[in-house]
């Protein structure tokens, strides 16, 4: 089984097409799992700059295992994983429900965390980082909510703040775990539009998961389906030349 991902968005002029660009993430005949127990087998996947790829499957099917392996939290059991970008160039967006509401943290402080990798321990937040922070908040359309407590925001707003934090990293690839879960339809549309815009206009590779196949098919045509330990193209993509 080969699940190399095809280009579907036209690349900007002067840039190499996605097909030519070196994959940022590449999995070859990979077996993935926890503590030696396989969850997914024979995974073949390449993610190139500017691609928008969704992975859909029921809870517990292995989506998170795939993400955690790509992010370096889990080793590949067999096969190969190649990353052509540093871990610090990956913008990871967890589910906001996975974060602990015990923290009296503001939305601005959450976004600021994305820039911590560039700061020395004793350093204050320089003007360039403040500007980057404002830009990230602006991109997700939540500049006005920066001073609000993060856990007082709605599910959709929290998700967009976490996307702003991932953008603050300066990512080449965004990996989002169920970004549309628990969001109202308006937030779902705002987040979907943002993901499409990031992949098309900023050449950021976007790889996100959902348990709702129909929902992800409304966002992108490149949809992987994961079930029963196998990853395959969702219906309509199986005849793709890649």
């Amino acid at each position: 089984m080969k699940i190399d991902v095809p280009p579907s968005h036209a690349a900007g002029s002067g840039r190499p097409s996605m097909n030519e660009a070196l994959p940022l993430i590449s999995l070859r005949s990979a077996m993935l799992g926890y503590d030696g127990a396989p969850v997914l087998d024979e995974v073949e996947l390449s993610i190139r700059p500017g691609e928008l790829i969704a992975i859909a499957g029921p809870n517990g099917s292995g989506k998170t295992t795939l993400f955690r392996t790509i992010l370096g939290f889990l080793p590949v059991l067999s096969g190969t994983l190649a990353r052509n970008c540093a871990l610090s160039e990956i913008g990871y967006v967890p589910q906001s429900a996975a974060l602990d509401s015990a923290f009296p943290i503001t939305a601005r402080e959450v976004v600021e965390m994305g820039g911590y990798g560039r700061l020395k321990p004793y350093q204050g937040l320089p003007a360039s980082e403040k500007k980057r922070l404002e830009n990230a908040l602006q991109q997700v359309g939540l500049s006005h909510l920066g001073a609000r407590l993060f856990f007082s925001l709605s599910g959709g707003q929290r998700q967009r703040i976490l996307i702003a934090r991932a953008l603050m990293v300066g990512p080449r690839i965004l990996i989002l775990d169920e970004p549309l879960a628990g969001c109202d339809p308006e937030s779902q549309k705002a987040i979907s539009d943002l993901l499409v815009q990031l992949s098309r206009e900023q050449d950021i590779a976007v790889f996100f998961s959902s348990h709702d196949l129909r929902m992800v098919q409304s966002v992108t045509t490149k949809v992987l389906r994961v079930d029963g330990g196998r990853v395959s193209w969702a219906e309509g993509e199986t005849e793709h030349p890649w």
Partner: protein
């Protein structure tokens, strides 16, 4: 009658004790804030008891080795006992959390009960050290000497500096360990270093002031602060300031009413928590 100005005067007889509890009250809430946020607050209860057990053990050991009670060597051994028991206990609990099944809270509760029981047994074995241990358990910092105050000041200055310098790294690691791993490419074990600072603050704090006071200062100010803070910076700053207020107020009432310091500080902290939540509840009712 002793006034608040007499108490904070450096020439006051009990000033070292006041300064000592103020240092503890200023720094311990910063450590406790992280434990609270990581939902590991019972670690702040169990580890001071383990440290007290280490002190009781070394008092018993020094008695068995023939040291006469009250010597400097005995005090040094007690500090080492507190430190070794705390760090070993912490390492053991971390190892079990990673590799054993069952609930973490259950292990902490069992460790607390075991350490408490051993502390009493070591005191029974060594009646000569009974008074010292009882003072420790009551949280008596009254007998703090200038040398001990200096040691406390140096150790807690280092801990404070570590927590302030690496505040971003510790915060990120507590809030979202996955992002912390990605941004550092997994090079720095921030959790480990946070727990090392936590272990040192508990071990040295317990030998100077006892487990009750250390646990009280670690947990009560952050609990109040969390209800009031509007952001992480204000949460940490407010935690330290509230600790300081509790220490000064508790010391004043302790001297004025001739009460043991540890329980007075802790009772005052609990009253402040109660007042905070009652005021917040009343304000919400008024706004509704």
């Amino acid at each position: 009658m002793v006034s608040i100005f007499d108490v904070i005067n450096p020439s006051f007889l009990l000033f070292p004790a006041l300064a000592g509890s103020a240092i503890l009250a200023f720094v311990c809430p910063l450590v406790g804030a992280h434990l609270l946020l990581r939902r590991r607050v019972f670690l702040g209860l169990t580890l001071p008891q383990v440290a007290a057990c280490g002190v009781a053990f070394t008092f018993w050991l020094s008695h068995a080795m023939g040291f006469s009670h009250g010597t400097g060597g005995e005090r040094f051994l007690a500090t080492m006992g507190s430190l070794v028991f705390t760090l070993v206990g912490m390492g053991l609990l971390a190892h079990l959390d990673r590799h054993a099944t069952g609930s973490s809270e259950g292990r902490l509760a069992a460790a607390y009960a075991f350490a408490s029981a051993l502390t009493i047994l070591f005191v029974v074995f060594n009646p000569a050290g009974e008074l010292e241990i009882l003072n420790l358990l009551k949280g008596e910092v009254i007998s703090l000497s200038i040398e001990e105050l200096k040691l406390l000041g140096i150790v807690f200055a280092v801990i404070y500096l570590g927590l302030v310098l690496f505040r971003r790294e510790f915060l990120l690691n507590s809030f979202d360990g996955d992002l912390s791993f990605l941004l550092t490419s997994g090079r720095v074990q921030w959790s480990f270093w946070l727990y090392v600072l936590c272990g040192f603050s508990i071990a040295i704090g317990v030998i100077m002031a006892g487990p009750l006071l250390v646990f009280g200062f670690m947990v009560l100010p952050p609990l109040i602060s969390r209800a009031l803070a509007r952001g992480m910076s204000s949460f940490f700053v407010l935690s330290s300031l509230l600790g300081l207020v509790t220490a000064l107020g508790g010391f004043y009432f302790s001297v004025r009413l001739d009460l043991p310091l540890g329980p007075t500080d802790v009772a005052l902290g609990c009253i402040l928590i109660f007042l905070t939540y009652v005021i917040q509840w009343s304000l919400r009712k008024l706004q509704a």
